[in-house]
Structure formats: C-alpha cells, structure tokens
C-alpha cells in the first residue's frame, strides 16, 4: 500500500480504521521529503514537533477520544504563515532568522483539528511571483518535470503536495498564487471568498486581495480543509461570520441543472490549443451529464491584470514599509544614522522583484499619479465586480482555463517581468472581485504537463465549486 499516493480523505479512513498510525505516516512523509529534496519544496521542517503531534493523536485515538477533521494527517504550510517557534521567512533574506512569536489563526485551526504540521513551504519572496524563482532560498522544481517551474507564489506548497510529501498544504492567493501552481503541478488549489478564512498571522502582501486557501490532491480534500480553516476571527475584521456549510456534504455526485457560464474573454486567440481542447472536453462532459451552457460577458476582463498590479503594488509598498531593520529582520552593518539604517537594511534585505513592486506601488500612490492610477484602478475594480455579478445572474459557475499555457521552463521568463505577470491573466480577476475559485487538473498536454481548469462561483458559494469539481474529477477518472 503506497500511503503517500493517497488522497487526504483516503488516508483519513486508513488512520480511522487503524491500518496505519499517524507516527508511521509522519515518518513516511519525512522519508519522502528526504528522497525528493531536489525539489526544494520546504524552507524548514519541524520533525520533532510533528512527531510529538502525531504521537498525541495516536494516543488520543487509542483511548477513544473524539478527534478533529484532520487528526494525524501530515500537512505543510506556506512560509508566510506564522507558527510559534518556527522560522517564518517569507522566502526573504530580510526574515531569514525571524522566529514566529505567535501562531496564525489558520495554522491554529489546523493544529486544533489534529493536523500534523511537518514543514514550512518555499515560495516567491513575500508571495510576489508566478514561478517560485523569486525565493532567497532557491527555486522550487515541478515534480511532474523538474526542468519546469512549479508556479508561484505557493510553489513549494504545490510541489510538496504533488510529490507526496504531505496530504495537503496551506497557501495564500493574492492574484493566483494558489491556483496557478496547483494548475502547473496537476493538483487542486482553492482560493476561497475574500473574508472566508482569517488572515491573522499571515504576513501581508496586499491586504484587500490576500486570501488563505489550500492545495490538495483531490477536490474532496479541498472541501475538508476549507471546513477546518474557514470562519470568523476576532483578530481579522475582514473575516466573515457567515455560516460555514458542511463542504464535504455539498458533493452530491450530480451536476444536473447546473448552469455553466462561458465568457469568450477567457477563450481568446492567445489560448494554447491543447489547453482549449482539454477545456472543451471538460465542458462537454458537464453538458453530457445534465448541465447547461450559457454565454456570459465580462467586457473589462482584459484590464484586470493592470488593476491588479496597481492595487497590489500600492498595498505592498505600504505593508512592506514596516520592514525597517529595527524591530525584526535584517539590520545592515554599514549605516551612518537612523535613516541610513532604513535605506541600507531594506536595500540589502529585499530581492529584486519586491523592490520593483515597492517602487511601482509608491509611484501609483504619489501625488500627480494617484488619481490616474490608484483611484482609477479602484473604479475599474468595481466595474469588474459588477460584470461578474451580472454574469452570475445567468449562471451558477463560470468555467475557464487557470492559465493560458501549461508550466514553463525554469529561467524562461525570469528576465521579462511583464511576460511573467501575464501568466496570471485569468486568475487575478477573481481576486479583484473577491470571488472564490478552484483550479483542478483537466488533462495533460503532449509533453505530459498538467492543464488546469478554473471554476469560479459567486461569493460564499464554495459549495458549488466542490460539487462541480468533484464531479469532473470522477468523470475524468472513469472516462465518462
């Protein structure tokens, strides 16, 4: 029995029925991490903590105690999520030695559900990137083909789940940072509705767009994990007190009557032909099983990426102003006075892409440009939101590719930042509108690289994503 190939829900059953213990499972994961160390998925591991957690779950289970939804299951979290006593580096030189003095709410919820946190995943520095090449701890490799990027910024999380090092991972998604790597690595990635999961304890990139979500090997696993991490948190005023549905129960096995929205803007002539044909097949599968197809229009979609880079960079410039080299992080040794200490520490600590975003953010916020860029972008954001609202009057779900192309080679786009930004063209509109979206595998190209499909639902309708996603996942397996 190869436990490391199992889905989270399958290993949950194996643990329940006593086929394997959590300690055994956790040891298998650490063995796998060592065997696949070339992928560079993790910045740090916490073996002692993990084995102690696993042992505690095994003992609780043996004594008949009631256990949480993730009891004994090894999980990885992205390295911008604080966990007391672990290093939280955000893959930045600036925070190379930062030790978390507290635990993020999403991580605490995992721990409370009995999850065994085994390590902190590599990422693009401060979650800025689409290839995981912007990490101070080295590039992460795609386990499907190690010459290719795993996507970013949650590239370590995606590569770890796809290579069987763990059964699920937390990531963060500001413009596609969960869905794009999930798509490139052939797994499932969920970006929940803005406000569904607390951001407390997650290092901020662009606070009005950031959302914590999960990466898993199946849609059902994604539903299970969201049920654990969702909910109101007194420490995050943007977290919602909306009721948390039983996400796993939302999976019904039927898509009869489901209205699928297709927007031509997602299927433009730049779309890779193999991606297009995989998507066409997936949509046809839905139609063959009782769903209907409706055309929807998102006329301003092509401006979402520009809106995204203006808003996210503006917020990043403000959020990253706190990195002054005084309270935590790197302090330069070569300063003349206090102001010079700020300059030198920031110049030495931040990587190139982070500096580029800070500069861009300060540009769009500075007098003379604020109205033309920042305020205009806020207005266009609202137009895009309204267009999605209108589209959802006609359909239950919108289906589109996660990315226009499958994964690219390491180094292929690292010198062209605009080409890199364009990778996220189909994922950023969802953050701009605050919607939930799920990326799932829907085929492979001729080179064997995974193709990702994105399902988008109205606010708070993650249930629709899980039902439709699970249906297609099974249909593809069974060749329906």
């Amino acid at each position: 029995m190869n436990y490391l190939k199992m889905d989270l829900w399958q290993v949950r059953e194996a643990l329940k029925t006593g086929k394997i213990t959590s300690v055994e499972l956790t040891k298998l994961c650490f063995k796998r991490i060592k065997e696949t160390s070339n992928l560079n998925t993790l910045i740090s591991t916490c073996e002692e903590f993990a084995l102690a957690s696993a042992k505690a779950v095994d003992e609780a289970r043996a004594s008949g105690q009631k256990l949480g939804a993730l009891a004994g299951i090894p999980i990885v979290i992205k390295d911008n999520i604080n966990l007391t006593g672990t290093k939280t580096t955000c893959a930045s030189k600036f925070l190379a030695n930062f030790v978390s003095p507290y635990t993020a709410t999403c991580a605490q919820k995992l721990v409370d559900a009995g999850a065994v946190i085994i390590g902190k995943a590599n990422m693009d520095e401060f979650a800025m990137g689409s290839s995981n090449e912007n990490s101070a701890f080295g590039v992460v490799r795609n386990p499907v083909n190690t010459d290719y990027v795993p996507g970013g910024s949650s590239g370590g999380s995606a590569s770890s789940v796809a290579s069987g090092q763990c059964f699920g991972a937390l990531g963060t998604d500001t413009g596609g940072s969960i869905r794009e790597p999930a798509s490139f690595c052939g797994i499932v990635g969920l970006k929940p509705t803005y406000g569904r999961v607390s951001r407390y304890g997650v290092v901020a990139f662009a606070s009005s767009l950031d959302q914590v979500g999960n990466l898993t090997r199946s849609v059902r696993d994604s539903a299970i994990m969201l049920g654990v991490i969702a909910g109101k948190d007194e420490h995050d005023m943007t977290s919602s007190s909306n009721a948390i549905p039983d996400y796993e129960k939302a999976i019904t096995g039927s898509v009869k009557g489901l209205k699928i929205g297709i927007a031509k803007q997602f299927f433009n002539d730049k779309l890779n032909s193999e991606v297009r044909s995989s998507l066409d097949k997936a949509i046809q599968t839905y139609v063959d099983n009782g769903a209907t197809k409706v055309e929807v229009d998102l006329p301003s979609l092509d401006t979402a990426l520009a809106v995204y880079y203006i808003l996210s960079s503006a917020e990043a410039a403000s959020n990253l102003a706190r990195f002054d080299g005084v309270k935590y992080g790197v302090q330069s040794k070569k300063f003349k006075d206090l102001v010079d200490l700020y300059f030198k520490s920031r110049t030495e600590g931040f990587g190139k892409e982070v500096k580029r975003r800070i500069m861009l953010g300060n540009y769009v916020l500075s007098s003379g440009y604020y109205d033309a860029f920042y305020r205009k972008a806020k207005r266009v954001q609202k137009v895009i939101r309204q267009e999605f609202e209108k589209a959802f009057e006609k359909c239950d779900i919108i289906v589109c590719p996660t990315t226009a192309n499958p994964a690219f080679k390491i180094g292929e786009k690292s010198n062209d930042h605009l080409a890199m930004y364009l990778t996220d063209i189909f994922t950023v509109p969802i953050n701009i509108a605050g919607l939930p979206a799920l990326s799932m595998p829907c085929g492979k190209n001729s080179e064997g690289l995974p193709i990702g499909m994105q399902l988008i639902a109205p606010h708070w309708k993650e249930t629709t994503l899980f039902n439709a996603g699970d249906f297609l996942e099974k249909a593809l397996k069974e060749g329906k």
């Binding site: 030790v99 003095p101 803005y194 406000g195 007194e234 005023m237 943007t238 301003s300 401006t303 990426l305 520009a306 809106v307 880079y309 203006i310 410039a317 102003a321 002054d324 080299g325 005084v326 309270k327 935590y328 992080g329 790197v330 302090q331 300063f335 006075d337 206090l338 102001v339 200490l341 700020y342 300059f343 030198k344 920031r346 110049t347 931040f350 500096k355 580029r356 800070i358 500069m359 861009l360 300060n362 540009y363 769009v364 500075s366 440009y369 033309a372 860029f373 305020r375 205009k376 972008a377 806020k378 207005r379 266009v380 609202k382 137009v383 939101r385 930042h417 605009l418 605050g434 606010h459």
Partner: protein, 99 residues
C-alpha cells in the same frame, strides 16, 4: 502615455527607502516605462458611473469590545530585534548630546 525619467526614479527610490546604483536605475526606468504603458490600459474603461463611497462586500464596520487583555510578552517580541537594550528596540543615536 506616462513616462518616468531618471530623476523621478531617484525620487521614488528615496520615498521607498531603497538604494540603487546608476546602472540599476537606468534599467529600472526602461522596465518601468513598459510596465506603465501596460497599466495605462485601464484608462479605456468608462467609470463615470462608479461611486467609490458605496458599500462593498464585508463593508459592515465591526467593532470589538474595549477590554483589557493579555497580549504578547515583551521578551517574546524583542527576541527578533537585531539590537535591543533593557527590553527596548535599540536604534542609533538620533539626537546628539548638547543639541
């Protein structure tokens, strides 16, 4: 079309508390022009009917009770400081004696 020159780039760097050498700045200006050209595509969207002061999702103001509670221990927070003294963050002298 918005453009940026080297002096503006220098000013931005100062605002950002970042240092760049001349070659980096020149390269930055070149890249930045390309980025701005792309960002400028938002101008084509008609937003004359948009009221930014209208309510958006999650816009309900949520207040917490004003209660005295334990927060972080001083020693835990100071533990990450590059330099500290007597439980406080240490910075270089900013006001000289006799000033």
């Amino acid at each position: 079309m918005p453009k940026i020159d080297i002096n503006e780039a220098k000013k931005l760097a100062k605002l950002s508390r970042l240092e760049f050498n001349e070659a980096e700045l020149a390269n930055f200006v070149k890249e930045f022009d390309k980025t701005l050209e792309y960002m400028d595509t938002i101008q084509k969207v008609n937003t004359s009917n948009i009221d930014l002061h209208e309510k958006t999702i999650n816009a309900k103001t949520q207040l917490r009770k004003d209660e005295v509670k334990n927060s972080f221990a001083q020693k835990d927070i100071i533990a990450n400081a590059p330099q500290s003294e007597d439980g406080a963050f240490a910075v270089p002298i900013t006001v000289e004696e006799g000033e």
